[in-house]
Assembly symmetry: C2
Homo-oligomer: 347 residues x 2
Amino acid sequence: MFENKSRTPLSELGEFKLIEHLTKTFTVSDETTVLGVGDDAAVLQLKDEQTVVTNDLLIEGIHFDLTYVPLKHLGYKAVMVNLSDVYAMNAVPKQITVSIAVSNRFPLEALEELYTGIGLACKNYKIDMIGGDTSSSTTGLMISITAIGQAKKEKITYRSGAKPNDLLVMSGDIGGAYMGLQVLEREKAVFKVNPNNQPDLAQYSYCVERQLKPEARKDIIELLAELDITPNAMIDISDGLSSEIFHLCKTSGVGCDIYEEKLPADPQTISIAEEFKINSTTALLNGGEDYELLMAIKTEDYDKIKSHPLLTTIGHFTDQKEVCNMTTGLGQSIKLEAQGWQNFNQE
Amino acid sequence: MFENKSRTPLSELGEFKLIEHLTKTFTVSDETTVLGVGDDAAVLQLKDEQTVVTNDLLIEGIHFDLTYVPLKHLGYKAVMVNLSDVYAMNAVPKQITVSIAVSNRFPLEALEELYTGIGLACKNYKIDMIGGDTSSSTTGLMISITAIGQAKKEKITYRSGAKPNDLLVMSGDIGGAYMGLQVLEREKAVFKVNPNNQPDLAQYSYCVERQLKPEARKDIIELLAELDITPNAMIDISDGLSSEIFHLCKTSGVGCDIYEEKLPADPQTISIAEEFKINSTTALLNGGEDYELLMAIKTEDYDKIKSHPLLTTIGHFTDQKEVCNMTTGLGQSIKLEAQGWQNFNQE
């Protein structure tokens, strides 16, 4: 993947020089950041709000495949995954630390690509990169990011606050990232057979971009603030809608009814599902990595959100503890299962 | 290494159950921790002080060798490495996040050992474990820890504040962890030849413990507070004394003179160095992983520290930018080099 580019072995730099080189274009600008990279620890002067902290790992061969994931996109996505967790608390992310472990098969130029993506994410979302660690690895690339955000105490939304009759509302659409992955995996298989084949991904561009370069829903947090809505509960949809619904219901001690026909999908997601002969509802319920927000909204806030194009009401919470039902397009009520469609189908 | 113990494959649990299982005995107790594990992010209500944040990676095959490092000790040490960075800012660590990536060669019982060590470190240092991530890896074990601490703004010590004439003072003694590593590496080689050989490490116990189970210098931070001393600069000694002195001098724009005969060493460190035919000054200047604190102390504070058993004055800072000299036992003045003894010897 780096064949046509210049290659500077990492051994030419050493650890101190490497981190210095990769982070030299990063400046800090948020008023809460006192010192970023360059000391034993970063220093923050946080405001009189609550602070949220989250950490995610991305491991080569488990979370990403460098055969078709450009490193710049990977850097961007690694930041998004973490920001999404901060937004899911209804908080504003301010800082990240980025640590990477990398084998010597990566030249310096590859890491520069990765940090370009990280830098772009920081710029777009006004995040300060304040520190981290760089290490060798025996195999592959590993990225560990910690994100720090802030919010007023009364604005923070936990998974545990959903109440019976609250509306189950989500941002954007789902299933796209999963279908994009199917397309990329198919192209990888084709490439193995015929390396001269140039894939034309234009007709799959929406879903491929959902997979490779997702955006965390900063806009939704800002929208909620504008509409003066604090959800009773919120979670980001990283492991599939069905799984996240179960998390909310379990933690809040409630159940829910959702409606198959309300599940928001892009037409391209549906058409790729048809092309791959995957049941589209399967893809919507269980496809991961959409990074949309799923929330419990009080019924009295319904008028504020009902016609908003970024939000869809897909059902409501009930007092039936951990019982999640879906009404199908044919009017049948079926039970959702935490582990998703496979168990679901066996009923 | 897990031959005589019960083995529960990680696949029996799955990611959610695994993190739940490993963290169930962890409770949060610091008044600044609102919520630990269990939501999209942890929530902190930090005091009106500055916050310090640091992250370190520990990678199997790079930072540790499970042939002779017990997992419980590894968990403890992984926490110490991060707390040491927080203490080096003259701050008090309060929370950590712990993320691990682990291959399926590790049974559940191995991870329980690791988390027992992490839990012991949290208990001894009054730290709340507030979150993290668990992932598969394709090979080996990787640990990423982020530590968060707090201090009053005027107490925070950067690397950049050392002034000419400040005293160069360090805690404890050095070189022990490095000599402990030599002993363990030798035992590993012996074990390979004769697996029935039972090593007797009693005579090496101090140095082996320095390597396997270091302690971060919480006591020194408390001592400085008691003595009403705020160092002008501070750094922890993780990569070897010589390297850390250069960091302080470079960042502060000063130089220093140190004295070979002042370098504090345990008698066992010296005797193991002799046994291994390693120049003991080499070991003291360049051996890593001691996790002692190195600081610039104002001359007017000298009376407060001069006879303290935990602190040693090894030299003083000068106005000669980045020029670091050591006066040997024989009265010669030689130049220290950033990369340590090897270049040093070639002069």
